[in-house]
């Protein structure tokens, strides 16, 4: 039996954070802590654009849900990137996250980038840290344009409420290896966004 409780959900008012009207715009949200989350999307009204991140801070309010209201920070754009399809992100700690996406601007290579949040509220801004590429991208470009879509996932190797995540796994379908499900185990070695990724272990499995 489930414990005798009820679960009542309330949601805040809506805020439009991007005017991108492309019908399949890729977007993602990742929570860093109880008062901060990051919004990720590609910044274009076409089928592809650079990765853009905008932080949201929840600040005390007299009338908002949970006594909080949203305050948007400053947009940051990774000009060396171009997204077309899915992206997923995961929290690492209270100010850091990792995002994985297929980078159309780098030969459709699967790229993992660290994001670090600085400050809070209106001045909050995300800086892009070190990145790693899973595969060279060369074989990925052999896939015809429009068929580069593949589902990807990134999951922390830690409990949901862990203060720090020291490693995570990226799961993807490797089109350079007959589409085999492949996991990349990535250990975060240093707690600076400029110098972090080590010990990458790739493993393919499934059909």
């Amino acid at each position: 039996m489930v414990d005798p409780i009820s679960l009542n959900v309330t949601v805040s008012d809506a805020s439009r954070y991007s005017n991108n009207t492309y019908f399949s715009v890729s977007h993602e949200v990742v929570g860093l802590n109880a008062n901060t989350y990051l919004l990720l999307y590609f910044d274009a009204d076409t089928g592809s654009g650079p990765l853009t991140v905008r932080p949201v801070s929840l600040v005390p309010s007299s009338s908002g849900v949970g006594g909080l209201r949203k305050v948007f920070g400053v947009e940051s754009t990774l000009q060396s990137s171009a997204l077309k399809d899915n992206m997923y992100a995961t929290r690492i700690n209270n100010s850091t996250a990792a995002v994985v996406f297929l980078n159309a601007k780098a030969g459709n290579v699967l790229t993992v980038v660290l994001l670090e949040l600085n400050s809070f509220g209106k001045s909050a801004v995300v800086s892009f840290g070190s990145s790693i590429n899973l595969g060279t991208g060369t074989t990925l470009t052999e896939v015809l344009d429009g068929y580069t879509y593949m589902d990807i996932d990134i999951e922390p190797m830690a409990a949901t409420n862990a203060s720090n995540v020291e490693s995570f796994v990226v799961l993807y379908s490797d089109v350079s290896n007959n589409g085999k499900m492949t996991s990349a185990y990535i250990e975060v070695k240093y707690w600076t966004v400029q110098e972090c990724f080590c010990h990458i272990l790739l493993s393919s499995f499934g059909h």
Binding site: V9, T10, V29, N35, T160
Partner: protein
């Protein structure tokens, strides 16, 4: 190894709900318009698992997220595909400590009218009782929107169903199998 036979889900997701179990959901659009939850307990030594509870709901969920691991609390995001409305909602749920039942609470409307999602709405955990959403909206001023939400836990009001094991058509079981394999694989790393 756990091998669930399910029929072509459009959305699947796994999330750890207790240290020894996870919540697996598979959502469907046409023609089923429903979603199923399975609670799977696993044995880390033998890397095997067993389904301990299942729950079916009459709407397609797009994603779930554990809010309070160890207390079994999660939230799900879904769109109502009935003929009268295309509303977008959030629902909260709880898996019992023994993993044998799942209860859902109220649904909270976050958009009164949406067109069919061509992009998945996303949900993330902020704390044990708060979350945030991101979704694309065609109707009105189109664009990408965000909201945050709060979960209040009080006396019981939820419906609950116990112990139904899913055994549907075997169209896409390979990917389910791979997903579960991935999860167990991850746990193997963590415990090692």
């Amino acid at each position: 190894m756990v091998n669930l036979k399910v029929s072509c889900p459009k959305y699947i997701h796994l999330d750890e709900i207790y240290d020894d179990s996870f919540l697996f959901f598979h959502g469907y659009s046409e023609p089923f318009k429903l979603s199923k939850f399975d609670v799977v307990k696993f044995n880390s030594l033998s890397l095997t698992g067993v389904t301990t509870a299942s729950l079916t709901v009459p709407y397609p969920l797009y994603g779930i997220k554990t809010l309070s691991q160890g207390n079994g609390i999660f939230v799900g995001i879904f769109q109502d595909f009935d003929d009268l409305s295309n509303t977008a909602n959030v629902v909260a749920g709880k898996v019992s400590v023994d993993g044998k039942s799942i209860a859902l609470g109220n649904t909270a409307l976050y958009e009164p009218e949406v067109k069919d999602f061509s992009v998945d709405p996303r949900i993330t955990r902020l704390s044990d009782n708060t979350f945030a959403l991101s979704y694309f909206q065609y109707i009105g001023v189109s664009g990408v929107y965000t909201r945050f939400g709060k979960l209040r836990i009080s006396r019981i009001q939820a419906n609950q169903i116990e112990g139904l094991f899913i055994d549907g058509l075997l169209h896409d079981s390979a990917i389910i199998w791979q997903y579960i394999t991935y999860f167990l694989y991850s746990r193997c790393f963590r415990s090692g």
